[in-house]
Symmetry: C2
Subunit: 217 residues, 2 copies
DNA sequence: CCTACCGATCGGTAGG
DNA sequence: CCTACCGATCGGTAGG
């Protein structure tokens, strides 16, 4: 939570109120989406009256926007960190690290990330600009990674990068509809998914050669 | 529309009323999902009063259920038909035909199919049994196809079939979030997606050999 | 298929 | 952070 957003000096409010509201909203949005989640539910779960939410936020949309952006930023940072840590790994391993980080952020931590996926649309109102910006920034990470992997030969250069990105992110985010912690292991899933798309038209030989070249540099 | 469901003999109702309601509901559900779409909207778009909807359906849920099931059945039949027509093709071509049929049904015909994807959850009420059955029946088509392709070597037998199915169907259905007719060609997308997952750990050589063997039998 | 109506609930505001 | 209230709208029903 940034200090600029903390209004604890402005009124009858303790430190974590705003964050508590967002935590609660994230949990409910994750389950119900935009329209199903009501301000009364959020307020009741927090332990305050509904009208009190308006001391912290100007509207329902502002609450949802904050949750969604936090969720995407969290995945974004997790993937960037994983790629930085795997900067010397093979292209394949870098892809696997990015996929694992995305899946882990999506399922392993809190509710913000899942809520972000669930709230793809903001109902009748258009998607806020800030949300589009934050999403776009994260997509750029994958744009760059896919370009890198295609150059390195770990992903077939014959595949259209946009289709590849849409396909992969769609498959990863779709996991919110079927993933169950007791049934899947996130590291296993990441390995499976990486194996699924790691070979191009030329097949595994080229990718293996690329892996070796990368490991030796 | 089955004759058993046509109640045109029961009251002041013309032939296509029920179907017109479902067509309209499908269009609105596709855009807004379960909670955003209201009975008033549907009625107004049809040109009747909201209360009149209850002459044809017992509840909002019944309308949505009919749309969702019709949508899944439509994709199901399209994919089965495509596979039947490609029964002599290579495993790769069969997969591509199934993917193309799924994408075409999803984006090329009416609103039922997209509405089915959009209405993944039925709000607070649990997903109706009929919906679960219809969805499951369609998943079984992919279960069988994936098993067939893994046996034939077109998909790596090292990949967990369930993860593969979730991954692929998630990616295909996620296309409702980004697909634009003016930007993508469905046949091109199908070819891209097929190329993406068509090679296993052994790489393209094994798959190519399998294709040749299949083509020669 | 209609008019008329229902209680419940929605997001949001007034005023403290 | 509260009590009290708002108009609008929801899915659904009565009765024809």
């Amino acid at each position: 939570m940034s200090a600029a957003l903390d209004r604890s000096a402005d009124g009858p409010i303790e430190g974590g109120s705003r964050r508590l509201i967002l935590d609660t909203a994230a949990r409910l949005l994750r389950g119900g989406g935009y329209h199903q989640t009501t301000l009364r539910e959020i307020a009741e779960a927090v332990g305050i009256r509904k009208a009190s939410l308006y001391y912290h936020f100007a509207s329902k949309e502002e609450i949802v926007e904050a949750v969604v952006n936090d969720g995407v930023r969290f995945v974004h940072e997790a993937v960037v960190a994983a790629l930085a840590q795997a900067s010397d790994a093979t292209p394949r391993k870098r892809l696997e690290a990015a996929i694992r980080a995305h899946l882990t952020a999506l399922h392993g931590h809190g509710d913000y990330t899942s809520a972000s996926i669930k709230v793809f649309t903001f109902g009748a109102t258009p998607t806020p600009d800030s949300v589009r910006r934050v999403r776009r920034a994260y997509e750029d990470v994958w744009r760059a990674l896919i370009a890198e992997l295609q150059e390195a030969g770990a992903l077939s250069p014959q595949r259209a990068p946009d289709a590849l990105r849409f396909f992969l992110l769609g498959a990863l985010n779709g996991s919110t509809d079927w993933y169950r912690p007791d049934r899947f292991d996130l590291a296993d899933l990441a390995r499976e998914f990486t194996g699924l798309i790691t070979h191009g038209e030329q097949g595994g030989a080229a990718a293996m050669a690329a892996d070796l070249a990368s490991a030796n540099r």
